[in-house]
Symmetry: C2
């Protein structure tokens, strides 16, 4: 038996470093722009021919480039997501993964022993990572934001975007629905980013904000739609239920709660991204987790949401629950 | 198109952290010893049930555990390499990968720009990583050491083990051949580890050492066999040729040089481990690389080795060249 797969795990961090370096020097964008040989790519990237050759061969072996003779080409995946000129470019997203949440993984053994991060972790108000997140993760969440807007159909009235971050979920909904007014809730520094995005995307005049903690701040309302995206996984079941009750009370009768989450199947080993997401919560939060639909439904029911429906959008690894 | 493969690269470092945590708490060994459910594994590991559940599901998704209902089982790979009681246990090897060479990868972008590490990197005499390497990498190199001994057939006389590290290559050869006397060359602290291994494996009375730099120290000799394992890749072609000439001069007429290396095919994108190995050399050395057989043969010929034959051992991802 060959231990190659084991060594792949031991050196997996090198893959993140090789991606960071490729994005830093603009390797994929240079190839997209027509450079195909090592000397041409090196010149365009301002990098050494040796470094470029090593990186290009590495990414060929790892499936994000093709090599034919001396010429490298992008694969459909790298052309879509790693060429700076592609509308679906996600190169900047690496800064969050390979940035503020990384130090938590140096202490993962402790988190496994304790059942979570020893501090309040990424849920702290002063965790600067959420500013990076808001700056960089919009691109990653765009397909999910579009899926939510599609799922909701025609909407008008007041929309609350809880822990808005980059703000994209509310903004995309407002762009599609001229009668929508968004209220974005988050920490003050993060809301600066969301407001900037709202201006850039032309809906600033329908964009209000509430600064503070979703568990304690006055939520205003009542709202026609509440967006609860990527927040529950940071908290325990009890904390989630408490928050859901507050949101229920801020919704007008007949209003809808939209929850975007990593929802593992009952087997907890599929689908892959939702099933492995609990590792990130174990490392970076005290009590966070990814909850199955049965677990989420129980919390939602006890918060007063009688009808809860799970949806799997096409272009997102995450799942959506619409509750009334 | 789904960007899941891109995010896998962004978060690949988490896989190394998840492996480190699993090895630290003894997760695979606990399952091997009969614990199969989360509470049982948690108790055996002294870890939290939540942490164990998250890790077990993570490694099920990532192919090193199987899950059936609530019970986890090792796969053949994890049973062979990650159970502390298995003779082929390689859990300790992660300490080198996830230890002394890791900081170099924080500076990989600079290495891509410059064509190598800005310092002399891992080739420095005082690089303490080689003590870790000698302590931990023996397990990883055992199959290659056996392959070399098999390839050489019956040997007697003097064997020089250049940059011996853990010492395993010379030691295994001496174990198989009672007429072999090994001289191990390396830095003093590293040789302490090799001498300990030689004692443990019962050949201390046929084990001499030379401390110092292979490029400058008096090599003694002449030798019947010289073992040159995992050394050339740290150096430039010119440096390699210089070293090979020194070794040629220390070999008796008809003596054999055995080189163990990561030898990529001429396409430089196969086999996978040898083709991606240059990334590690780019990050951790100023001028190191993995050389194709054509490149190595050229250096060997110019150093006076007229006949050079490439071999692919069965149980190793590396390649062996025998030169006379």
């Amino acid at each position: 038996m060959n231990p190659a797969a084991i060594f792949d795990c031991y050196s997996a961090y090198q893959k993140t470093a090789a991606m960071q370096a490729a994005i830093d020097v603009g390797l994929f964008s240079a190839i997209a722009a027509g450079a195909s040989t090592v000397p041409a790519i090196a010149e365009k990237c301002g990098a050494s021919p040796k470094g470029v050759r090593v990186l290009c061969d590495y990414w060929t072996v790892n499936g994000l480039l093709n090599k034919s003779g001396d010429a490298y080409q992008l694969t459909p995946e790298s052309a879509t997501f790693l060429d700076r000129k592609s509308p679906a470019y996600m190169g900047d997203v690496i800064r969050f993964f390979n940035g503020p949440i990384k130090p938590f993984f140096e202490r993962l053994t402790g988190a496994v022993r304790n059942g979570g991060c020893e501090t309040t972790g990424s849920v702290e108000p002063e965790f600067d990572g959420w500013i990076d997140f808001a700056e960089q993760m919009g691109a990653m969440m765009f397909p999910a934001a579009q899926a939510i807007a599609k799922l909701l159909g025609n909407v008008s009235g007041k929309v609350l975007d809880v822990a808005a971050g980059h703000g994209l979920f509310g903004i995309v909904l407002a762009q599609k629905n001229p009668g929508v007014h968004v209220t974005a809730l988050d920490w003050p520094k993060v809301l600066e980013v969301a407001k900037r995005h709202a201006s850039k995307m032309g809906i600033a005049d329908r964009y209000a904000t509430i600064t503070g903690n979703a568990f304690t701040v006055d939520l205003g309302g009542p709202y026609d739609v509440i967006l609860l995206t990527n927040l529950l996984h940071h908290f325990s079941r009890e904390q989630c239920t408490t928050l859901l009750k507050r949101l229920r009370a801020a919704l007008r009768p007949g209003g809808r709660l939209v929850t975007l989450e990593f929802v593992p199947n009952e087997d907890r080993i599929s689908p892959p991204m939702s099933a492995t997401f609990p590792l990130i919560m174990l490392a970076t939060t005290a009590k966070g987790d990814a909850y199955t639909f049965a677990e989420l439904e129980k919390m939602l029911l006890s918060a007063g949401f009688a009808k809860n429906k799970l949806h799997q959008p096409e272009d997102s690894p995450q799942q959506i629950i619409v509750s009334t």
